[in-house]
Structures are given as C-alpha cells and as structure tokens.
C-alpha cells in the first residue's frame, strides 16, 4: 500500500517536493498538497512590481498547472496538525491522515507588530508592492527611507536591491535631484556578508544612497514622520519603506510545532523535525538561521524529497543531505547585478557586478514556471 505523503504549502518548496516524490516513488507514495489559495505566486517578482518593472499578473499561476497529474491538490486552509494522530485538520474539508508530512507553509509578514508601522510601505506582499509603486508614481521630492523592522526576513539582499532599483526609477523620472534615499541597515555595513558589502558600498556611495549602519527599526511616529531604532536613533522620512517582521504560519503556532515565532525546529542537514517523527520542514518554515529565500527552499526540497522517497520505499536514507547551499542574485541597478553563493563549509563569494548577472536573473525569473516547480533544475 502507498504511503500518504501530505505537503502543507504550495509555494516553491512544497511544489518541488510534491513533484519529485510523485515522480521518484514508483507508486509507493500518494502525494497531496494542501494550499489555502491554490495560486502559486513568484514572490521574487514583488521587488520589480514595486518600481514598475513587472506586471503583477505575470507573477501567479494556478498551482494545479504546476503539479504533476498524479499529485492531489486540496485547496483549503490547514488549521491544526496532530502529530500523535498523524492528522491534519482543515478549515472546511475532512481531516487528512498522513504517514509522512512536509511543512512548507513559509512565512507571513507582520507590519502590525511595529508600533506605528501599519501605514509604512513594503514590497513583501503583492498588495504592498502595488501600493508602494502607486505612492512612488506620485512622489515628487523629499526623503525615502528604507529600513528593516525584523529579523529574520525573506531575501536578505532585497533592501539593498530595492535601494538601487529605486535610484534607477527616480533617475528615469528626472527627479533624483529632488530626492534623498536613505538605507538603514541592521548591521554596520550594507549587507550581512562582508565580501558582498565591500562590492556594494562604493556603488551605494556613487549613486548617492546614504547608508546608516546598526539601525534596527523599532517604531514609527506617523505624525512626526520619523522612524526610531532599537539602538536609540531617529531618522525623518517623507516616504517610508519597511521590511516587515516575519513569523511562521498560524497553523504551525496553533499546532505547537514551532518556536515562539512559529519557526519549525529541524536538523540543519536532514530537515527532519527535532521533536516529531515523520515530519520534515523546508524553506522559510524552518528555524535554521540561513537565508529565507526561494533558493534555500529549492535546495532543501530536493533533499527532503529524496529522504521521503527512501522512507516510503523502505530504503536506507540517501547520503546527500542539505549542505547549507544558498544562491542569490543581487541587483545593483543600471542593468547590472552580482551573485552570492555559499554553503555551511564555504564562505560567500560575489563576482564584480556585471550585465550578464542581471540578464541571468531576468532569464531565471521568466523561465521559472517551466523549470523550478517541476524539479527540473538540480
């Protein structure tokens, strides 16, 4: 009899896991994906929507079209997991029993956790990105502040990329001379990785983007139009863009499967839950202190899928475990980009920003739908 494999979440990680298990298990697994919307969203595109470089409609497709035909899709909201009974409860439908469970529920953004932060702009949701572009289109002069209001957050390079793309956008409108861009960084440099910061900081200076270090946004005063840091500094703004605090999904918190922020504790190599058998977590969902990004979800998904395939076939676990691999692009504006690659054992390297990396990112964004969800890229 086939094992029931249930995957919560139809994002990049959940979709790859589902397709790979269905393909590789030779009928030993019956795979079900549970997703609350049934719509697969390509989140890296939000950054481009926020500066008018991407059409929002190009960033979503029905999840059913990305899954193999032998994967069952349930469009419903998982409300609670009972790991003792191997059961997932739904908002509307009947409970699902599982033999193996993958938590790929991702993260949610919580601007409401920042005192005064609800009115700030963000590019971490489709709605936020569309609203931000609308505000930018009517922006004529003044100071635009970009800050980080919580750690961890998705796509660590995104605030720096947004600063560069915003600079391009304001120049294209001929209003850069009337505007200031201030980038507030949580660290004493532009970006977590020192080597990448060394590449990026001279370009920030060249583009007249003011960098303030050790500024972790704590609160916003919408009347005075100021933002104050955890470290005790205050900066004024005319338009405020925040990276919102993130946390795990409600179902994780309500099921007692995560920590106090809803991140699921897993072994950093096998991605197995540290407390419950037959449960894996991948992507943003985990508590591993590594980038919350599509690339991590992608690499982790292939590892979790191979482990689950071995489990349902009754074979030895595969030798290959997750080695901490991360690969990101970082747009540096004016048609150039760099990349960042590393794993648990190898420190990050970034090439000099060049046009070819920008085009590689653009190509990846366009071809994503035909390669990544199906597990066609390693």
């Amino acid at each position: 009899m086939a094992d029931e494999v249930v995957i919560l979440g139809g994002g990049v990680g959940g979709t790859i896991v589902a397709n790979l298990i269905a393909k590789e298990s030779n009928g030993r697994a019956h795979v079900t994906v549970v997703d609350s919307s049934g719509i697969h969203v390509y989140q890296p595109g939000f950054l481009y929507v926020a500066v008018g470089l991407e059409n929002p409609a190009a960033l979503h497709r029905p999840e059913s079209r990305l899954l193999r035909r032998d994967v069952n899709l349930v469009i419903d909201r998982a409300t609670r997991v009972d790991p003792a009974e191997h059961t997932v409860f739904m908002e509307w439908g009947r409970p699902l029993r599982y033999d193996q469970l993958v938590l790929a529920t991702g993260s949610r953004t919580m601007l409401q956790e920042v005192p005064g932060g609800q009115e700030a702009h963000d590019f971490y949701t489709m709605e936020g990105a569309k609203r931000l572009f609308k505000a930018l289109r009517s922006f004529q002069r003044g100071t635009i502040v970009i800050g980080v209001a919580g750690i961890p957050y998705k796509c660590p390079p995104a605030p720096v990329e947004f600063a560069f793309l915003l600079d391009d956008y304001l120049r294209s409108r001929g209003i850069r001379g009337h505007t200031q861009i201030k980038l507030l960084s949580p660290l004493n440099r532009a970006f977590t990785i020192e080597a990448t910061s060394k590449l990026v900081q001279p370009i920030l200076a060249e583009r007249d983007i003011e960098l303030t270090g050790f500024f972790n946004v704590e609160s916003v005063d919408t009347v005075a139009q100021t933002v104050t840091s955890l470290e005790g500094e205050t900066v004024g703004y005319d338009l405020l863009v925040l990276v919102p605090p993130h946390r795990g999904q409600q179902v994780i918190e309500d099921s007692g499967l995560g920590d106090d922020r809803g991140w699921v504790p897993v072994d950093k190599n096998t991605l197995k839950h540290t407390r419950f058998e037959h449960i894996w977590a991948i992507g943003d969902t985990t508590d591993i202190p590594i980038s919350k990004s599509g690339s991590v979800a992608h690499y982790e998904a292939t590892v979790a899928a191979a482990e689950i395939v071995a489990t349902v076939k009754g074979e030895e676990p595969p030798a290959h475990v997750y080695d901490g691999k991360v690969m990101c692009f970082l747009e540096t504006g004016q048609g150039k980009a760099t990349t960042i690659q590393f794993d648990y054992d190898h420190p990050p390297v970034s090439p000099t920003p060049a046009r070819r990396w920008h085009w590689a990112k653009a190509l990846f964004n366009k071809t994503y739908w035909h390669t990544v969800p199906q597990g066609r890229l390693p």
Partner: protein, 79 residues
C-alpha cells in the same frame, strides 16, 4: 566553559547569511530584559561585529569564549 545561565542558545556556525549577528539581533528583539543569549559563530567577523553592536545597542557582553574553530558569545539583554 560558560559560567552563565543561558536562556536561548543559537548555533550559527557555518551560517553566513543572515549571519550570527543578525540572528542575535532578532533573538534579542523578541527576548525579555535580563535574558541571556548565547551565539556560536565560526565567522571571524563576529569577533568585531557582535561586540560593536552590543555596545551600540547598550546591551551587555557577558563573555566571549574561544573554542576549536568557533567562539561563544554570551549577551544579556540590558534594556
């Protein structure tokens, strides 16, 4: 040997991104005043970054203990 009671330990060895300091900042933000956090980091930069941020944010660096290939940073949330 760490001689202080640790409320939350973070193993950030081998993690370049978001990195040990970012993870510590995240934990301190969520923590209560008086709680003690321990970060394990194999990143050389942590030896300057973590003390610099702790001083700027006016928390307390309780101790730094070097181990084989990594260091323990023990930080108390002071305010």
């Amino acid at each position: 040997m760490i001689g202080t009671h640790i409320d939350k330990a973070i193993d950030a060895r081998g993690m370049a991104c978001p990195g040990p300091l970012m993870t510590l900042i995240g934990a301190i933000r969520q923590g209560q005043v008086g709680q003690v956090f321990e970060v394990l980091s194999s990143d050389e930069g942590s030896k300057t970054d973590i003390p610099a941020w702790v001083a700027k944010a006016r928390h307390e660096l309780v101790e730094v203990v070097q181990d084989a290939g990594y260091a323990h940073f023990v930080v108390r949330k002071a305010r």
